[in-house]
Amino acid sequence: MQTIMEQMPIVLNSLNAGFLQTLKLFFVTLLGAIPLGLIIAFGSMSRFKPLSLLTKFIVWIIRGTPLMIQMLIIYYFPGLVFNNPIWGGGETGRFLAASVSFIINYACYFSEIYRGGIQGVPKGQEEAGLVLGMTRSQIFFKVTLLQMIKRIVPPMSNEIITLVKDTALARIISLQEVIWAGQAFMKGSQGISGAIWPMFFTAFYYLIFNGILTVLLGRLEKKLDYFR
């Protein structure tokens, strides 16, 4: 039987590949959900009632059901019901389906945070801009935007840290992220089985990445500390 030192390169190799998937899913989700969330936020705040009701209804469903179910449905539903497996069976397809599920899910959460941020900026700020002859877009970009960002950074930080850990849910459609990679050595893979120690390494990967994110987001928060 191999020693842990001999197994180490094999395990780290697998974990690295898995963590790359985790990171990819994380960044793609952020890249998609941050702007989509803004669109949804504007939708739910729309003065056109049917649009705002529909948006709120969708947000209610997405936030009220587990992401795991949403992912199962998004990945398997087209193939099972319409006999049209739009995602394909390979790694790319699973990654795409997971990304779409995550983006939609997180955009809904983000939209609620944005809504709070936008509505949290006092009405007087907009009026002060109006009486000073500013255009709507000048008011948004020069006055309200930064105040809104300041308001949403703390709750967004929480969601972003949660997202890092939530990426593990993509295992349900067999996306081979880092926990799948670590668990493979519990099940038995590449001559290593029944090994729990790769799981500690897996946890360590999350810890380091979340540590970096916490520092960066903390810095951003601090940077916005100069005003209230």
């Binding site: 700020q125 009026e127 002060a128 009486v131 002859g133 500013m134 020069k142 930064l146 005003f227 209230r228």
Partner: protein, 261 residues
Amino acid sequence: MAILNVEHIRKSFGPTEVLKDISFSLEKGQVVSIIGSSGSGKTTLLRCINLLERPTSGKVMVNTDVIFDSEDPATQREQDLRKKRLHFGFVFQSFNLFPQYTAKGNVMLARQLLAKEQPDYKTRKKEILAEIEQQAEQLLVQIGLADRMDNYPHQLSGGQQQRVAIARALALQPDILCFDEPTSALDPELTGEVLKVMKELAEQKTTMIIVTHEMAFARDVANHVIFMDNGTICEQGTPDQVFNHPQQERTKQFLSRYTQG
């Protein structure tokens, strides 16, 4: 020639009529104080004049320009509102300074944005910006905040914030300066510094409309006093007429409450 003419302004929010046929005019260099109990429509009137609210009917003229006429849709175009509002400076009860800008930044922002629309902005950019900065500094010196120019609003007292807000309104050199209860959100010991600045402005013949609860100030500074009650102008005239010889029962009641308190 009146600088401001307000004719038959009405304003309803849903079924509630807040302003009922208000008319008055204002001469250049005059100070008008609007007094009255809470809910009498003072603030709404001020907001209708500078078009933060759209009057339900009536007409507003600045100099000879009709800036709003409920009969004439050409005067109601959304895109013209911005320019029309520049006739007025507006000082809010709750200051509404922009928290992410310094005192100086607050005073400069609107002019900097407007300067971009000047045709010679690109070629004279440095010059124009220097001029704006100089003006802002001058204004802040004038209101007695020379040493707080680079402070952010949260580092200033309420009185100081309100003075910055006045400087910000002055920066655009409006024809008429509007004050919406400028001292109501302040601790009593801080109202003095704000009133002092306003008094100085009055002495420099700045045209002003002041909605206020400071009766002594209204009496001393205003040329003309309007007492509003329940959405109408109940009584108006010189401070002496309104404060010392009120004709209407409502005015007497209102004033007695204030002189007692």
